[in-house]
């Protein structure tokens, strides 16, 4: 891949004009430099206005309503679902379940698929670079059902150790669940190959795509995965809504997760009949405005083209890595630019990450400090916390330069 800025097809100045928050000053005269995109992305006016307009003109509960608003809202919400289905190459909109976020999607799988398909003695294979949301639900399941968790270890470079993966697959896990892109190391994992290997070993495969779907082309059918999970808020969409994608055959066999309105066809005092997919998994009034906003977000990204998004962010990442290496005392974790997304986690001599982030903040530069909900990956490298800068489509080279300048100021203060 060409990592130069020259070959980008994104019109970044035009993109920036769509994001009102980029005009924000954090202190008088101090312009925001938002480099916390792995935590959550900013939202373009198109998304904000779609939700605003929903509430001003169309707001209604959906699915069961006959009146004009209910019909308009139902169509708009279900259009959001169809857009998402086509964005990730799903075979049918029935394979797209709306949840609150990636975390709920993974818990839904642990409760519904996990409890129906796993028994004491079964193994689940995870990796040391997983987000807590792809660890804790399985730990809870493990202590309830008695399954055993294995973890693929990491190379010094912060990639998955493929030898460890192959060895652990020999233990015949029933389930393999791993991230397509690490939110600490930025590592992009070879999902298609690993999935094929897992399938050969007889496992079902879940991909945590919270960091990948927002930043690169992802096609569930090409990758061959069984389940995939991600969140709207990391990809220009609103808070409060996420996705569970699952192959129809698998979703169909799963028991329901939450019970209540909308997920049933019929209720009597002595029992209920389940609804069709995907409604079987959607109980109660859904996040309607959010589904509509999410659809807008996906339109926005599809218009840019995910290849272009990925190429531009990799150019930014390569440049940022190069510049960070100039700064004495900075150590960045994770692989080289070719193999990673726009996530740079680093330590800076022995300056505490809180102090780094706080002083950068005083220059308007927003980075994250802490373990980024990836404590095991930090433990692997024997550190408590890192500072993390992460990019998206609206970030520019000059903002990387401001980050570097900021880091020199941190050094001055902490001598």
């Amino acid at each position: 891949m060409d990592l130069s800025f020259e070959s980008t097809t994104l019109d970044v100045p035009a993109i920036r004009r769509d994001f009102p928050i980029l005009e924000r000053e954090t202190d008088p005269g101090v312009k925001l430099v938002y480099l916390d995109n792995a935590a959550t992305s900013q939202k373009p006016v198109q998304v904000i206005e779609a939700m605003d307009s929903y509430y001003r003109h169309m707001n209604s509960n959906i699915h069961r309503g006959i009146h004009c608003l209910a019909e308009e809202a139902t169509v708009a919400y279900e259009d959001g679902r169809k857009k998402i289905a086509s964005f990730i190459g799903a075979e049918s909109w029935r394979e797209i379940v709306f949840t609150r976020n990636t975390t709920e999607s993974l818990n839904l799988l642990a409760y519904s698929w996990g409890r129906a398909n796993l028994k004491a003695g079964d193994r689940i294979l995870l990796t040391e670079m997983e987000h807590h949301s792809n660890i804790v639900p399985w730990q809870m399941l493990a202590s309830e059902v008695g399954v055993t968790l294995d973890f693929v270890t990491l190379t010094d470079q912060g990639k998955l150790d493929q030898e460890s993966y192959s060895t652990l697959l020999e233990r015949e896990p029933r389930l393999v669940s791993f991230t397509q892109m690490s939110n600490m190391l930025g590592t992009i994992n070879p999902v298609a190959e690993m999935t094929e290997q897992a399938h050969r070993a007889g496992a079902v495969v879940i991909i945590d795509a919270a960091q990948s779907v927002p930043h690169m082309p992802v096609d569930v059918q090409e990758l061959g995965v069984d389940f995939m999970v991600f969140s709207a808020h990391k990809m220009l969409g609103p808070t409060g809504i996420g996705i569970l994608y699952g192959r129809k055959e698998l979703l169909q066999e799963m028991p329901p997760f939450l019970g209540g309105g909308d997920m049933i066809k019929r209720v009597q005092l002595d029992g209920f009949t389940m609804n069709d997919l995907p409604y079987k998994f959607e109980a109660g009034t859904p996040a309607i405005a959010e589904g509509i906003g999410f659809g807008e977000a996906v339109d926005y990204l599809a218009n840019l083209g995910m290849e272009a998004v990925h190429q531009y962010e990799q150019a930014l990442t390569a440049y940022a890595l190069e510049r960070l290496e100039e700064v004495p005392g900075i150590q960045v974790y994770g692989p080289e630019a070719e193999d990673k997304g726009g996530v740079l986690s680093f330590i800076y001599n022995d300056i505490h990450t809180h102090d780094v982030a706080h002083i950068l903040d005083s220059f308007g530069i927003a980075v994250r400090a802490g373990h980024h909900c990836a404590q095991p990956a930090h433990q692997h490298f024997d550190i408590d916390a890192t500072s993390r800068a992460s990019f998206y489509i609206y970030n520019v080279k000059e903002e990387v330069d401001q980050l570097i300048e900021g880091l020199y100021k941190v050094k001055e203060i902490f001598g």
Partner: protein
């Protein structure tokens, strides 16, 4: 008001042409819409060439679902079972002569669903319907 409850619909609802049961029959199938308790049953007689010679429906429901059942059942007499396969959502809304939102569409299509499920599966039709 809009031309929604066009005379045709109200007329067919009040004076159905095709209501009844066939006994004996070659095909008979019924299904319901649990949202509102509507039920439709359709009976068919089919000759050796797969041609529908007689058809009738019974059931309960709203004006839209009963009128479209009546119109649909009327339209299929003299058609082959293969021709039924090609019937779609659009054929029904065309017969009714109106645009329908997602919930009302479900009412309108209940009879088509019953017909297709009775004769074949109904996977594509389910996909077409968003709700």
């Amino acid at each position: 008001m809009d031309d929604f409850y066009r005379e045709l619909i109200i007329d067919r609802y009040k004076n159905p042409q095709m209501r009844g049961e066939l006994d004996p029959h070659d095909y008979s199938y019924e299904d319901d819409n649990p949202l509102c308790g509507d039920e439709i049953r359709i009976d068919l007689r089919v000759d050796a060439d797969g041609l529908i010679t007689e058809a009738a429906f019974t059931g309960k429901g709203c004006a839209i679902s009963l009128a479209s059942a009546d119109l649909l059942v009327e339209s299929i007499v003299g058609k082959t079972l293969d021709e039924i396969k090609t019937l779609s959502k659009d054929d029904i809304t065309e017969m009714l002569g109106i645009e329908l939102g997602p919930v009302r569409l479900k009412c309108a299509l209940l009879s088509l669903k019953v017909l297709k499920a009775g004769v074949y599966g109904l996977d594509e039709l389910e996909e077409e319907l968003m709700i």
